[in-house]
Symmetry: C2
């Protein structure tokens, strides 16, 4: 894969000499024989995880790793209520949507109740990729257009059609001829109006599509720009973007695969921080706390345009066991007040990194929302310092704290722990980061 690919960030290099443990070396060899070279493996010295609980992962020697990265087990690894729901439902029934199911509809109704009223239909899928791909089909059928707009280093998934709108795969995977990219909205450091500059980029991209005879179908943006480097503020900056997309007849698709389900600490969905109601919303990762379930939520007029043209049956989408898991996730989010916690603990963590920033010019920026932070690492000239970011990520891994990187340059620490993360866990991470900065 290309070195400019998101998948090449924080990746084990087979030429690395950092692996001392023969068990790890043996596992890496087997993995390589099975998967070949396509599937990225984290860290210079990869970790072998054998069990997990809450925010802790454990390896084959019983060593504990603090998980400050994984948002799929979002209510905590192996949460007993989710595990129970899975075990009970798996023993009772696991089937598909061509039979009627109270379990599936009750969950769908709970999920839809978390959305603005205009978003009243949904289809279940098995992955974020399937959801994005389906949303693209819906937008195409509804508008009759083919042209899509994405941000410069967006990652939306891996199917053929989704890879065509995913610049983060790097130059080996060409963008579609019908795709235009816009810069992600940068933090408005110089007092620039982020909202207007982002919308202006979209306006230009639509004009360029039209100039090439390509009818505009829509835009898809991760509501917190995870892959581009994490841009959350100011809340509301997406409003002008959504208005621009709609004014030109396009469909606004909110990619909530990463920010969704309370991650940002400001309600369930990243788009609501911006005061917008998208036309389509795609979600996945944390939906079933690790069980493969994802969805597209749609305005009914988009669903109607779609079903005039195409049927939709997804064998695993909306299966009973994954819906039971996803329903337990909603229970835990509510009962453990995890969204409030994400806001509070996220702020504590952000404050902590801002303290480090004041003492160290290598931290160029600290940004994010809730328990989703990007810590930008720069050199003396303020330029991205990928090497230093990787030193920190691998240094934290040696101290058994797991984070990774994002952004095109790979210089932004991506910190996105399970939501039960506490201020004590934040202190472990902040102390280790501070020590590594002091030692580097």
């Amino acid at each position: 894969m290309s070195a400019d690919s998101m998948l090449a960030l924080n990746t084990y290099d087979p030429a690395s000499a950092a692996v001392a443990d023969p068990t790890i070396r043996g596992l890496i060899e087997r993995r390589q024989r099975i998967f070949g070279a396509a599937v990225p493996l984290f860290y210079e010295d990869p970790v072998h995880i054998t069990r997990a609980e809450g925010v802790w992962l454990y390896d084959h020697e019983g060593r504990a790793y603090l998980d400050a990265y994984n948002n799929v087990p979002s209510v905590g690894h192996c949460h007993p209520r989710v595990v129970d729901a899975v075990a009970r439902q798996a023993a009772q029934l696991n089937t598909h949507t061509r039979y009627l199911s109270e379990v599936v509809y009750a969950y769908a109704e709970r999920l839809l109740a978390t959305f603005p009223e205009a978003l009243s239909n949904l289809l279940f899928t098995s992955s974020g990729t399937e959801s994005v791909d389906l949303a693209l089909r819906m937008a195409r059928y509804h508008t009759g257009g083919a042209g899509f707009i994405v941000t410069r280093f967006a990652y939306h998934g891996h199917s053929t059609a989704v890879a065509e709108i995913t610049p983060a795969f790097g130059p080996g995977v060409p963008l579609g001829v019908h795709v235009r990219t816009v810069p992600a909205p940068p933090p408005g450091r110089s007092g620039e109006d982020v909202s207007q500059s982002f919308a202006a980029g979209i306006e230009q991209a639509i004009a360029d599509l039209r100039r090439h005879g390509i009818r505009f179908a829509g835009a898809i943006f991760d509501s917190i720009f995870s892959s581009d480097g994490l841009y959350a503020d100011p809340p509301g900056f997406l409003r002008a973007a959504a208005e621009t997309v709609r004014r030109h007849g396009g469909v606004y698709i909110a990619d909530e695969v990463q920010p969704g389900f309370g991650r940002t600490g400001a309600g369930m969905w990243g788009f609501s921080r911006h005061g917008i109601t998208p036309d389509l919303v795609v979600m996945g990762k944390p939906m079933g706390n690790g069980m493969p379930i994802a969805a597209v939520v749609a305005r009914p007029e988009l669903m109607a345009s779609f079903s005039e043209r195409s049927g939709y049956f997804n064998t695993f989408g909306g299966n009973t066991v994954c819906c039971a898991a996803a329903s337990a996730v909603l229970d835990v989010l509510r009962d453990e007040r995890l969204i409030e916690r994400s806001a509070q603990v996220g702020q504590y963590l952000k404050d902590g990194f801002e303290r480090l920033q004041r003492a160290d010019a290598r931290i160029g920026d600290v940004r994010g929302a809730g328990l989703y932070l990007g810590v930008e690492i720069v050199d003396q000239a303020g330029a991205p310092d990928t090497r230093e970011a990787l030193r920190l990520v691998n240094g934290l891994r040696q101290r058994r704290i797991l984070v990774s990187t994002c952004a095109a340059a790979g210089n932004v620490l991506k910190i996105r722990p399970p939501l039960p993360f506490s201020t004590e866990h934040c202190d472990l991470l902040l102390d280790a980061a501070g020590q590594l900065l002091a030692a580097g």
Copy 2:
């Protein structure tokens, strides 16, 4: 959706007056409010399933339905060994392929051991659709071509790229300009050489692609032609097809989503009945007995071409819980000798339908392999009789035996029970079918 779509076969029509139970009517209304009109629902009088065990499904009134249709819960609904594996692994660890995992590699190695030696690499995905889509990307990157060949009423999945090679969606979903269709290999009734006529169709399609300046990338065929109407015999007829594809530089992709994992009773994979070794194999549905797991198995040279161009990370693909479930499926297949059972019980069922056929001209043909049968229903002129097929399917459903239909005309009964199906279960199905034929 179009009436010519596979998804419109054996589908509930909201105008139907057949639903008497107010519980069912209420569920149908909720379903419609959630999903809109795109997702098909089986039967004139849909069923509401609340629990399941082995080959039996139970509704909200505790009524038992004999499952003669579902191949996802292939080792039996809620098989205790699979349920146990899921419950144990869900309580211990559920994570992704960027960490090392003994559970995942041990399963992958077991799975690869069921393939010819040349097929030594795999990638995990979350669905058959994701697997087919990835196989198309691999074939394109390896050959530099874009042209694909499929059969006339093939169904391969629902992503944008896979819908473009899926004629069974009907006219609302256009085939790609780079796609050609060939007739599925018909049963060689007139002594015609099926193998040569099928290969000749492929040869013509490749020539037509070339004439349009489209470089040939490959062909994908369901090894038992599930959607086209089920064509299994004579074993070996795919050999000339595979040779033709390769002679022209194409990649032969075996779609084992339906025939795989022992369904045909002749080894694990449908392609092995034909004595071929594909370049890529896609699998899904029964792999985790209902847990969403799927895969692409590849020759290493295809994996190498792919990874030169693209990385691949699938969040849910190869997660620990689904791999544990899939490993238990292999245990059960082996310990309960379900492949041999599929051969034996499948033959018993086929013999039974052939007896019915000798007594009733409405059964035009009985075909299939193992516990996967197609029973073709025709009128007096020998033409497809869709209405009679639907009368039988809905009549069986009223007698609480679940089957469905396939083929472009929807006139072929699709019988594909969980593999623990016994000769006693066959007798229940055969007796009911005989009575319905006698009463019609």
